[in-house]
Symmetry: C2
Subunit: 381 residues, 2 copies
């Protein structure tokens, strides 16, 4: 089966991305028909330049004073900030209950605070205490509604192409520590950078086996104001979350071990790398795996808004589920403690959990958002 799956990896690269192996860049927004035909239907990413230069946000959001004024008119207005020791929320971390090599899925400590304080924390983040405004529950239309006039409520050509308004619009204010680990979303994603730059690694859904999706115990950081320190606690009773095992930027100390543990990723075709700058939009097709880092603007921040539109659950989705249900027989995948599969929910032997619509949404509601009514980020499953 290896050979057939590896041929698929190559063919999708050839057919979707051509010989350049670069994400296609459009110099202005496409017509709705072209966007739908060449990108959404084909499940193919693109970057659109000169997409949002007309937004007031592009100029006005680069100063603290403007943002603070807009978001502090009501003293009681609070925003949610994700606090972690390292900028990596919803990512794998050493399991505090396991042996040294065991990992868990760590979610941030989410703290509500006045916006000016949030901005201070984001700007003054340091190793050991990193703040990231990245609440993914449609926060731009709720917590940040005071900024609505600075952007468009939706991306007009995408809305016309997709035939619906966005299901969620999220604001992201991060810094150079902020990092989002590999995952996929069950949405068509229009990702608009307002300030700074975002660096994406992209892998097509057909590379699912290269992500080594495994079950990890759900854990949560909690931050103590008293000690100024984080503790990480695994939920009790333990609940498992399927997540990508691959960290594409391993530290020098763990590099060799990670390469030998995840050979399909490190020895296979390279992910597509792209950088999205202020004024540009990345179309990130549904089901594509993505990893995100960022470069800050002169204020030390990266600000972006993403629009999640409903995806079509069509033959592509069925094909993906089929592919994921297949065992990729690799002779070089040692199983480490803490990376155990939840075999009870699958009859496959390599954590190829079947992706079901109902399962997805129920898992999504459980993963991050204990404080949210709804959670729009679908973990990999």
């Amino acid at each position: 089966m290896q050979e057939e799956i590896e041929t698929l990896w190559e063919e999708v690269r050839e057919l979707s991305l051509g010989s350049s192996s670069q994400v296609e860049r459009l110099h202005s927004p496409p017509s709705p028909l072209r966007f739908l035909r060449e990108f959404v239907s084909a499940n193919k990413p693109c970057i659109i330049s000169n997409a949002t230069l007309h937004w007031p946000a592009i100029s006005s959001w680069s100063t603290d004073s403007y943002l603070n004024r807009a978001l502090s008119s009501d003293d009681h207005h609070l925003v949610s900030v994700h606090l972690t020791p390292n900028g990596r929320a919803d990512a794998l971390a050493p399991n505090p209950n396991g042996d040294p090599s065991s990992l868990c899925f760590a979610s941030a400590h989410v703290e509500s605070m006045p916006f000016h304080l949030a901005l201070l924390h984001i700007s003054n983040s340091k190793k050991g205490f990193v703040a990231y405004a990245q609440q993914q529950n449609d926060c731009f239309r709720t917590e940040y509604s005071a900024l609505a006039a600075d952007c468009e409520a939706h991306i007009p050509w995408a809305t016309e192409a997709l035939g619906c308004l966005p299901e969620a619009v999220n604001l992201w204010i991060g810094n150079h520590f902020s990092e989002t680990s590999f995952h996929k979303d069950h949405y068509e994603n229009l990702y608009a950078v307002v300030s700074g730059e975002k660096h994406f690694l992209l892998l097509p859904p057909t590379d699912v086996h290269r992500m080594y999706i495994r079950q990890y115990a759900q854990a949560h950081y909690s931050f103590s104001q008293a000690t100024g320190e984080f503790t990480l606690e695994v939920e009790n009773p333990v609940r498992y979350v399927p997540w990508c095992s691959v960290n594409p930027y391993p530290s020098p100390e763990t590099r060799d071990r990670e390469i030998s543990e995840f050979p399909l990723y490190f020895n296979g075709p390279k992910p597509f790398e792209c950088t999205v700058k202020a004024g540009e939009i990345l179309y990130l097709p549904s089901m594509w795996f993505h990893h995100v880092r960022q470069s800050p603007d002169s204020q030390g921040r990266t600000i972006a808004i993403n629009y999640w539109y409903d995806m079509q659950f069509d033959i592509k989705y069925a094909y993906f589920n089929f592919l994921q249900s297949i065992h990729y027989l690799s002779t070089h995948v040692p199983t480490l403690p803490g990376m155990e599969c939840d075999y009870s929910s699958s009859d496959a032997s390599e954590c190829n959990l079947r992706d079901q619509l109902c399962t997805d949404s129920s898992v999504a509601n459980e993963v991050e958002g204990s404080k949210d009514d709804e959670n729009y980020r679908t973990p990999v499953s």
Copy 2:
């Protein structure tokens, strides 16, 4: 692997066609965006009613006199007619060189003749001599260009959606004998019935294993005016064509044998059945397997025009190739003589020949059209 593939069959049915298991029927042409979003992108068929009622052809093509006048202004103008003993051109037939159960892929005797003669042959077909005007080399824009004003040169909303004009437009004039065996095309197909009715069986591309695609020796009918009889001859040297083995309407004598030989088809989910009437268009998505029969109008004929638009070779195509490359392990598929695979061109053990763009076009050129400059019908491969 059976279980995973069978789940895929079911999931595509559920996701693409919903609980009704009926091909969706639109009561008027969709907007280009809707057509692209809901049908082409999703690779999902639909029938559009009231699609071509404004065509002059709908009324004028039901009389011989009109057609003869339009197509006989030039005495030397000839059209191509496919002659077979049974109405089944490009279908499996007993191999004249093999044992009684061995089959070959039989193409019609193609005869050029004045149109009025072609029409007489089609109308007066009988068992043993069946004529079918079904030249698939863009014949509507060449042999039948005198009829151009009676139809549209393209389907406007499909052209806008797909972003190109049709690659080929074909006219089909058949009778109740005419039948097209299961195959797929690498085109988006808009199939407009002008007179009579067409009965389609449709299977999604994900059902590829249920078609038992095998290699058959290419053979040709030739008709002798002298004896009034057909002979069927296998090409020498033998050349093999991959084709679907399943005949969905086996005769009472062969029924039991065929059911036990092709259990995945006969015991699996039913194909989608639909009837397309005069004035309606079937959108037949690229890569869907289809089998076609027809009911004639009061003149004994069924007339249709189909528009082949280029398909996008995108992630769906790559997924299909992957699926086809996988061996479906069935314990009940006996191999009969004459159904041999060409193992040399594949390392799979059940004739899962990989579908390559270049291979397709080269095979297509070889299959039917020794008399054609170009051949637009892509055999299953």
